[in-house]
Symmetry: C2
Subunit: 321 residues, 2 copies
């Protein structure tokens, strides 16, 4: 079903109604006009998904829509910010109104869950690519920054690790993909409520998109510290345990990306506050290691016997060397 750009924009505009009073002007002008509340900082993140790189081309469009917004909301979660608005740039090989409708269903379902208004964007011809910019607000004194980790902090992760990478592994191997793992890959849950609850309690925070070791490594470099992880402390879902065992599973948990869980650090004194905050938003939080003084470098990983455990790869890079 073919349409022109103006018809596509009109279809998007119809679905993008919002009740947010801070949207002074949404889709339909040269730019959106938005009201940031006094005393709050604006938080901005952007992420692009390309077909064949970030998702298999045969992924259902509703799942692509969900994920395009989810990976961006995850960045806001990692700052402890409250989501507010987003823009959407959609490049499509052809103006397929049916595809766009399904895409928007997934995108707007997640947007409504987090009260995010779609306030602008563009549609254009090109290879399938989705670029989203999200805007949130945060009290700057409570924002979670990568550079805030300190020696002897606990290292925590939310939820379970390795599920999305396991689904991708099964897909690459041509195997039947476990439906629970697949849901984690296609419809990741941005930990927005947890990120907001951690503001003022946790210190550094990052979302796990490239793999725990790579992402915790970014925190270490930004903070000028080191980190140690207990490989067997990493939380695993029942679905992951059923499908992968031993070092294959450990590798997926330590180095697999795309889970969009939060990895954060907090002082030992904050343990109870963290556990209460996580319980209040119904998300599991697990202590998996600690921050050390050894200058920034690769994260050290130990097994149950205290011996070093070495993963085969340090997270997934979009550009291989």
């Amino acid at each position: 079903m073919s349409a022109n750009e103006f018809e596509l924009i009109e279809a998007i505009r119809r679905r993008a109604t919002t009740t947010r009073a801070d949207v002074l002007l949404g889709i339909g002008d040269d730019a959106a006009l938005l009201q940031v509340p006094t005393g709050h900082a604006l938080v901005v993140a952007t992420d692009t998904l390309n077909a064949g790189v970030h998702f298999p081309v045969e992924t259902p469009p509703a799942d692509i829509g969900w994920k395009a917004l989810a990976v961006n909301l995850s960045d806001l979660a990692a700052m402890g910010a409250a989501p507010a608005w987003c823009t959407l740039s959609l490049s499509l090989p052809e103006a397929d109104a049916t595809w766009v409708d399904a895409f928007l269903e997934g995108f707007m379902r997640l947007a409504v869950l987090h009260d995010v208004a779609l306030v602008g964007g563009d549609t254009t011809r090109g290879p399938l690519s989705i670029s989203v910019t999200v805007h949130g607000i945060v009290d700057p004194a409570r924002a979670l920054r990568r550079a805030a980790a300190r020696e002897d902090d606990d290292v925590w992760v939310s939820g379970t690790l390795g599920d999305a990478a396991a689904a991708l592994e099964q897909w690459r191997a041509g195997a039947l993909i476990d439906p629970t793992l697949r849901e984690r890959l296609d419809r990741p849950t941005p930990r927005v409520a947890l990120g907001r609850a951690l503001g003022g309690i946790a210190r550094a925070c990052i979302d796990v998109s490239d793999g725990l070791l790579a992402d915790l490594g970014h925190v270490c470099v930004a903070s000028g510290v080191g980190a140690e992880i207990q490989i067997d402390a990493l939380p695993a879902s029942d679905a992951l345990r059923a499908e992968f065992g031993g070092d294959a599973r450990r590798h997926l948990q330590a180095a697999g990306g795309d889970d969009y869980e939060l990895c954060f650090t907090a002082s030992v004194a904050a343990r109870e506050a963290i556990e209460t905050a996580a319980r209040n938003v119904d998300v599991m939080a697990t202590r998996v290691g600690r921050i050390t003084a050894r200058g920034p470098g690769p994260v050290a990983v130990f097994d149950a016997d205290g011996a070093p455990w070495l993963p085969g790869s340090m997270g997934w890079r979009h550009f291989a060397d």
Copy 2:
């Protein structure tokens, strides 16, 4: 010259230094933290350029970088906003550090001219595509909106029209491209200072990206009015006059896109104020028609004898029907 994603981001970060005090946190965290001044609204626009669609693949990367930011700044200009920050999503077939360096030279040259801080983004593998989101600030009472045109307003345009479309026409015909026209296509000048000067003086405003008739048509639809244009009042550059004559030139001026001039409306009483504002920022402003009561519809175009003049096409659509 191959690089990985982290090296590319580091190269971008090195070039993205800013002196703006309102950037609390720039490139290098999960999101940027930015301070919007009290009493001002946030203005957000986003635009994507794809190779082969928005620019010929052989365009020099520095020109692509300039244009990717220029088309976005033009949207802020059309709102009367002051530019502040931007994010950049770059999809590249391969991680070519030399290409990225040249691209950034053009991008940052324009960014520095307008004191725009590059505060975030991502780089990823995929067909060449550049998606930019710009942020500006404006007193919402002075913002220029498409819906603000009123009956009997004058219709004005800045600069000259048709130059970029003329360059594209020469390029498509395989002819030698006039260098002045080519500069207008590859390095458009966003009318930021004029847009800001028009706040509180002009009524409706839009930037000319799809062609004057199409874009003025958007103003008419948003405002519930009609418009009449005098075809021979449209300003033409000497370069355009030298290369195209008669109806070919008129067609380029009325329907050619990509000039990124401003088209705006203002009351007859504001004529002197408009002329002074334009003179102060050293940009030509020309009255080309007026707003009429006839409900929203195609813009009416008249020749010097008062007879209707009909263009062959109503602006360029990214998706042809």
